[in-house]
Amino acid sequence: MTLELELQTLWTALVLYVLAGVAAIFGVALQRKPERTVLALLVFGLVLHTASISLRWDRLGHGPYITMYEILLSNVWSLLAIYVLAYWRIPAIRATAAVVMPILFVMMGWLLMTSPYEGHLPATYHTVWLFIHIGFGKLFLGSVLVAVGISGIILLRGSRYGGERFVSLPDNSRLDELSFRFMAMGIIFETLMLIVGAIWAQDAWGRYWAWDPLETWSFLTWLCLAFALHARVAYKVTPQVGALMVLAVFALAFLTFFGVPFISTSPHKGAV
């Protein structure tokens, strides 16, 4: 199995994703509903993306969680998998694809510009806790991404253009409620990610928590998420303010997941 085949499969998947995203954006702009086409393109893309990851896993003997390329590769996959599940199960929010896909385009562009070099699997990565830790992290980010898509609709509705394009979606208070539910799922998954990460860290580095950059920023993300959920209850914030808080949590989480590897010199920094 060669790197060439792996990359060709991935690029084909990315093309399908882009086509799905473009269809979703034009669907909103032209007030059409190409939902089945978008779903089919995303699912076919995911199948090819899964094949590409499998080829790499088989070739290197370890999962896609070592280098920045692998982290982007697996996160684009997991974010899309979670989003496609939401897209399929909650038809009322399918227009959110016009918000979510551009975010994923940025990650796909970054992925294409990153070298697919092979990383060395550190000894501390030979543990099942790493898989569970990463899995919960992906579920957390995926949940927040769906909330971001919904929040994007709430904010876009503030403009006349957006108000017209998203008129058929449920009202803002209902969207806000759904967004809150995805954020609630997010805090559960992020808490589990932190707990499992601490179990891993205890035996990998002899301490369960050391305030290294990734731990610090992950906990700040958790605090920000807890703050957003609490503020929604304590102050009965408007859907627009709630949506802005969702975006803030996602931005912080995004920086934690993909920015900290650039500033951290700790053995625990996301990407080796």
């Binding site: 000894a123 501390t124 559960i188 301490r207």
Partner: protein, 346 residues
């Protein structure tokens, strides 16, 4: 995470009276959900301050965490919603338990480093350590022996798995063996001993002092290998002497080959250079050098391993409290969300 607010938050089941007592006012203040937000923000600010400080300043977290514990306790004590929603009550109690356990852990923990040459027994002494003020030290009673280790290296001298055999005497008098390493500590009386990336070569000597005392057997831990591959020398002082001695390990072979996978091992052929003042001698195993204060015999080369030791009795309790917190929160959300579909108006 929810219904501590709303209309109920203001009367939250406190005794009805025209003039609230000072105690209930204080409790009401501490139970405020808006105070929770302030505390979360303060905790975030304290974390940022500690993160950006160049010196350890995690003590700044103590204030917000204490306030958080008070806030949660007051809310649980006063808000009737906790009597109705068990999951929410369990979640808040678990959060309080987590904060108390973290505090207990910081007061009683111990963290340290030690090094043991192959065949050497841990004598309870650490090279470096830090501990909480209430740590009740029991390290001196613990013993284990480093029985040797192997470490795989991938191409490019990238460290792989460490397998360190250790042995100790169990309370029943039986000798126990185990292989520890990455992810697998040796746990003795709650103290967790981990291998570290620090390891190297240790020439073993026997020192026969002229004074006629008993010969002293010991090892000299050279700087970590391969981290200090080209600095395999160290200055030390002989037991009972004030004479500084400089020791260097020399070998020609490649131990860790960057071009292919390899394993940490002792060099097949080597010599030790010993320098005392103007005198310089090259020694092979079994050879001796006569110095002004006695005779130093070079016994041979061994390896040494650096260990970290960690003690925190709260670990299992903390894990249990965290798991309880997240499960109860999930239970609370499940109850809340399953009661009403998201797209139905209130």
């Amino acid at each position: 995470m929810t219904p501590r607010s709303g209309p109920g938050i203001e009367d939250r089941g406190l005794p009805q009276s025209s003039v609230p007592s000072p105690h209930s006012s204080i409790l009401k203040f501490f139970a405020s959900l808006k105070l929770t937000l302030l505390i979360l923000a303060a905790l975030g600010a304290a974390i940022m301050f500690a993160y950006l400080s160049e010196t350890p300043t995690t003590w700044v977290l103590a204030g917000p965490l204490t306030a958080f514990a008070l806030n949660l306790s007051a809310a649980v004590a006063t808000n009737p919603v906790f009597r109705r929603q068990t999951a929410l009550l369990v979640f808040h109690l678990a959060l309080i338990a987590i904060i108390l356990l973290i505090a207990a852990g910081r007061l009683t923990y111990l963290k340290g480093q030690l090094e043991l040459a192959e065949g050497e027994v841990f004598d309870g002494q650490l090279m470096q350590e830090e501990s909480g003020p209430w740590h009740q030290r029991q390290l001196e009673t613990l013993r284990f022996s480093n029985d040797g280790f192997t470490i795989d290296y991938a191409k490019g001298i990238r460290r792989g798995n460490t397998r360190n055999q250790v042995s100790w005497v169990a309370p029943n008098g039986q000798i126990q063996w185990a292989v520890i390493g990455d992810q697998v500590p040796l746990v003795l009386d709650g103290y967790r001993f981990y291998t570290s990336h620090n390891k190297g070569f240790a020439p073993a000597f026997t020192w026969h002092p002229n004074s006629g005392g008993l010969p002293v057997l010991g090892t000299v831990h050279l700087p970590a290998y391969p981290l200090h591959e080209y600095k395999q020398a160290i200055e030390w002082t002989l037991p009972g002497s004030k004479t500084p001695l400089w020791v260097m390990l020399q070998f020609d072979e490649v131990i860790l080959d960057p071009a292919k996978p390899s394993e940490f091992r002792l060099p097949a052929k080597h010599q030790i250079v010993v320098r005392a003042g103007e005198e310089r001698r090259e020694l092979k195993p079994g050879e001796a050098v006569r110095l002004a204060e006695g005779v130093l015999v070079y016994n041979g080369l061994r390896s040494w391993m650096g260990y970290t030791v960690f003690y925190d009795f709260t670990l299992p309790w903390l894990l249990a409290a965290c798991v309880l917190a997240v499960l109860s929160l999930a239970w609370h959300f499940w109850n809340k969300f399953s009661a009403k579909p998201w797209n139905k108006a209130a």
